[in-house]
Every structure is written in structure tokens, then in C-alpha cells.
Amino acid sequence: MSDAITPEIVEALLPEVAELIISALNLEMNASEIEPDARLFGEGLGLDSIDILELALVISKRYGFQLRSDNEDNTRIFVSLRALTAHIASQRTK
């Protein structure tokens, strides 16, 4: 697994992950409209747990790793586009 995930690597991956969210969930917006640090749940994009399961599946297929929740909070990885992207960058196998 990659050992040095720099902010630059995450930044560069943001648009691709934003595009993935939009296409997986069929949202009516452009990828550039997802603010990297805004919450994906609640205020912000207003995603829910069904969206997460759908996204988790797409992410596991695209990046070759399975999402896990280390605690009860399944949404933590999805707190923002940047958090999700950083998680993907650190866990991806492809």
C-alpha cells in the first residue's frame, strides 16, 4: 500500500472521485460543484446510507479495496469529498 499520501496526491484525485459520486448516484450537478470540504451527508449533498452502499460498491470495484467501518459510524469515511478521496488514496490497490 502506498506509504506517502501527500495532500497533492489527494488534490489530484478529487475530480475523479467527485465524478464517481455524481455518476454512481445520478446526481443532477457537475463534479466541480461538490465542495471538497463540505459535508456529503446532512447539510451539503444530503446523501444517505443507501447512497453510501451504492458508492462503496463502485469504489471497491474501481479501486480494488473493500470499505470497512472501524466503529459504528459508517459515514465517517464519507464525511467530505476530501476525506473520502484521502481514504481511497491510502487504500487503493489499483
Binding site: L27, E28, G46, L67, S69
Partner: protein, 456 residues
């Protein structure tokens, strides 16, 4: 007054639950119940929002032995909590994780109860537990909530005696009384299906549950591997389809249970083939509790649980008998076959069910219309249902001064996220007819014009 035991186990040394740090016996559970009961505030209403199934059940039982009713709303939206506070001013909440409890008094589940390592904090010695408590059969143990058409959540009281009958009827149907299973549930302990099929089955179906609530496919696999066989997976079509699509190696499972949303025969067949285990669906409602089951691949007709009966009058179907409290009208269109089994033919028009959460269009319209700045509004549920039950609501709104973001932020305060409209369409006016009514056909046409042709 008759009394019913808290648990149906024959021995205090039987296994009650599994946690990551090991198995807990009935006596361990009862010791935790007793310790927690001593900490509960004076109020008679307990809002139990514990995420951990074991914590939740300890909270429920501590309430039962102290004469406190467990409130289990279908949503934790701020507006719902405010309304509960109005109806039950003495309510307090029991939490084991972050929870926006507003101004409700809050008790955190004591860490000392489930960790053997620490000695600090409240504890009762499990070896000194001598008997299983008895609870008055007519005590209102739980209130489950549905959303009424006028905005306020409607409480449905469940007596302890009926809940025990409910758990036993399901356990009997699934054969758990003869062959206990380890239960892994992906559904919350608070809502009717998860409450009945994990908590009540553990208390009165002699089947220990896994304390966690696995979510991602990898979590479900890990939870299943953590408990001994035979195993029962209590889940929903969403978790099941995600699990099957994940490509993960599936652990041995001996029985699958699904509810909350329609399950396609193809998903049921795939699940049975991959797990080499039967899959049963449960039918019920919050008001009636679970009523019937079917093995989807064998027969689409539903088989009533023990002692439950259906009766039809004026096009409405009423459930009664057994564990059902009173006579409960059902919101589905039902055809009773001559052999006593029945078929479901969809829901009555106004009621909707998304991902197992129920509400009515009237309720949603009422909530949206109550937002300052909204002149008119109508939710619409499109006809085309996706195969395994995930259909998103659409809403049409007239709100000249509001942005989509503002309106959604307001709406989020009032309704569960699953009901947020996607898309939300702003209009100058709604296509009401001359009497001010908004026929579904008009909304259908509007939907076709504004939404359908812009989708993929």
C-alpha cells in the same frame, strides 16, 4: 396480574450475545441490566438511541425492570425529537455514540458494563445473579412510531406480553426454538423489523445476536465469521444485493431473513444459490408487528404467523389475534387465497415506503408546506420502481424566495433524509385543477415533462 419473563432461556449460563471481546451469558446480561437500571433517571420514558445492539437491549431491559417505556421513533430528526419531548416531557435519552440530543437529558451507556478490563464504574457481579426477572404482561414496554398525516409522529404502544408472543411466533416459524442460530443483523435494533428479528429473537427465540450492526459487505462477512454456526443473517434487499455484488468470499450462513422493501425473486434466488441456504421474507407493519413470512423462491403467497388472522371489510384488510395489539387496518391491498395464504398487491396510494422507512405523501407535503417561503408543494413517487425497492421521491415546489439548498436544509430538519426529494423541481405554480386538487395524473405528466427526459 400475569407476568412474563424477561428472557425465555432455560439457563442463566446460556449464551445471550456475542461481542468482539467474547460471548456473554444470560447472567452477564442480567448483571449489566441491573447495574444500568440503578443509573436511570426518574423519567418514565426512555429514548434509546444506542447503536450497539447489546447496549440497546441492556437499556430496554433496564427500562423494563424499572417500569420505563422505550420510545423508538422511526426518525431522529430534530422535529421528531421536539414532538416526543412535548408528548413525554420526562423523556431522557440513552446514548452510546455521538447523538444530537437537543436539550433532552442524556445518559451515556457506561463503558464499565461491557469491558471486563476496567473495574472502575458501576458493575454487578454476574455470578450473584440468581433469577430471570418477571415483567407484567400488560406493561407498555415499547412505543414504536409512524408518521401521521398531520405531521406529528403517532405512537403505537406494545405491551411486554404481546412482544414476547411476537418473538416466540417468529422463532417458531423459523425453527429457532429447536435449533438456535447466531443472529447477525444489518438493521437497527430500534425499528420494528430489527427489533423483532434481532432483539426479540435473542430474548425469546434463544438465539444469541452479534452486538454490532455491520454495514459494508466486508463488515457483514467479518461479523458472520465472528459467531458460531448455525447462523441467521437478518438483513434487507439493499445490504443483501451489495453483499452479493461485492465479490467477497461468503461465510457459511444457514438462513437468511429479509424485510423492509420488496425483494425480487432473482435476488432471492441468487442469495439462496450463493449461500446454499433458504431466504425468508417477513411481512408486517409497525402498527401490527410482523404478520407473515414466505420463502420467496418457493411461493409468492404469505403464510401467517401462529394465531394471527386477517379479515376483510369494505376493501380494507384488518389484522388481529396472536401478538397483534387490537385490530389493525393494513395499508396494503391484499388478496386472501382459499388456502388462507395471501398475496400483496401494492400499497394504498398515499403511503410510501422507501428503504423500509414509511411515511405518507400527505405528511411530506404538510412538512414542506410548513416551511416559511413555500407557497405550494407536492411530493411525487414515480411509478417505475427499481428492482429491489429503491425509488427516490421527486418534489415540485413553488417557493420564489428560496434556493434549493435553503429549502433542503429546512426540510432536513423535518423529515428523514431518505425522503428528501431527488430531484426537487421549482415551478411558478403547481398544476392544480379547478377545485384546487392535484390529481396524480397531473403530477405524472409534470414528472414526464420536467424530469424523465433529462435523466440518463
Amino acid at each position: 396480574m400475569s407476568a412474563v419473563p424477561l428472557l425465555g432461556h432455560a439457563s442463566l449460563d446460556a449464551i445471550f450475545a456475542y461481542r468482539p471481546n467474547g460471548a456473554l451469558r444470560v447472567r452477564d446480561f442480567l448483571a449489566d441490566v441491573e447495574a444500568l437500571a440503578a443509573l436511570l433517571p426518574a423519567g418514565k420514558h426512555l429514548l434509546n438511541v444506542c447503536q450497539d445492539r447489546y447496549h440497546f437491549t441492556v437499556g430496554l431491559a433496564a427500562g423494563l425492570i424499572s417500569g420505563k417505556t422505550s420510545l423508538q421513533p422511526s426518525s431522529q430528526a430534530a422535529e421528531t425529537l421536539r414532538q416526543i419531548k412535548t408528548t413525554c416531557p420526562d423523556v431522557f435519552c440513552l446514548c452510546d455514540s455521538e447523538f444530537d440530543h437537543l436539550d433532552l437529558p442524556r445518559l451515556d451507556f457506561p463503558q464499565s458494563l461491557t469491558t471486563t478490563e476496567t473495574t472502575a464504574g458501576p458493575r454487578v457481579n454476574p455470578e450473584k445473579v440468581a433469577k430471570i426477572p418477571l415483567i407484567p404482561a400488560n406493561f407498555e414496554a415499547v412505543q414504536l412510531f409512524t408518521s401521521g398525516s398531520t405531521g406529528a409522529p403517532v405512537a403505537h404502544g406494545k405491551s411486554w406480553g404481546r412482544l414476547v408472543l411476537n418473538g416466540r411466533a417468529e422463532a417458531q416459524r423459523l425453527g429457532l426454538l429447536d435449533q438456535p442460530h447466531s443472529i447477525v443483523g444489518t438493521v437497527p435494533a430500534q425499528h420494528s423489523y430489527g427489533f423483532e428479528s434481532t432483539v426479540l429473537l435473542a430474548l425469546h427465540g434463544n438465539s444469541p445476536f452479534w452486538a454490532g450492526k455491520p454495514f459494508y459487505p466486508q463488515d457483514i462477512v467479518a461479523a458472520l465469521n465472528a459467531v458460531p454456526e448455525p447462523r441467521l443473517l437478518v438483513t434487507t434487499p439493499f445490504h443483501l444485493s451489495a453483499l452479493l455484488a461485492s465479490g467477497l468470499e461468503l461465510p457459511a450462513v444457514d438462513m437468511l431473513l429479509s424485510a423492509t422493501a420488496p425483494l425480487s425473486v432473482s435476488l432471492a434466488s441468487e442469495a439462496e444459490a450463493r449461500f446454499k441456504a433458504p431466504l425468508y421474507e417477513i411481512y408486517g407493519s409497525t402498527e401490527s408487528g410482523q404478520l407473515a413470512s414466505r420463502q420467496t423462491t418457493a411461493d409468492l403467497a404469505w403464510d401467517l404467523l401462529s394465531a394471527v388472522q386477517l379479515e376483510q371489510e369494505n376493501g380494507e384488510t384488518i389484522a388481529f389475534g396472536g401478538h397483534v395489539e387490537g385490530r389493525v387496518p393494513l395499508s396494503d391491498v391484499i388478496e386472501i387465497r382459499t388456502d388462507g395464504r395471501f398475496l400483496l398487491h401494492g400499497r394504498h396510494a398515499d403511503l410510501i415506503n422507501i428503504a423500509g422507512k414509511r411515511t405518507s405523501l400527505a405528511y411530506l407535503n404538510h412538512q414542506m408546506a410548513a416551511i416559511p417561503g413555500v407557497a405550494d408543494a407536492a411530493f411525487f413517487l414515480p411509478d417505475h420502481e427499481s428492482p429491489d425497492g429503491i425509488t427516490r421521491l421527486c418534489a415540485f415546489v413553488v417557493a420564489p424566495g428560496l434556493s434549493s439548498r435553503q429549502l433542503l436544509a429546512e426540510l432536513r430538519q423535518r423529515v428523514d433524509a431518505i425522503f428528501l426529494p431527488r430531484p426537487l423541481v421549482f415551478l411558478d405554480q403547481l398544476p392544480r385543477n379547478s377545485t384546487g386538487k392535484l390529481p396524480r395524473s397531473n403530477l405524472q405528466a409534470l414528472y414526464a415533462a420536467k424530469v424523465e427526459h433529462v435523466e440518463r
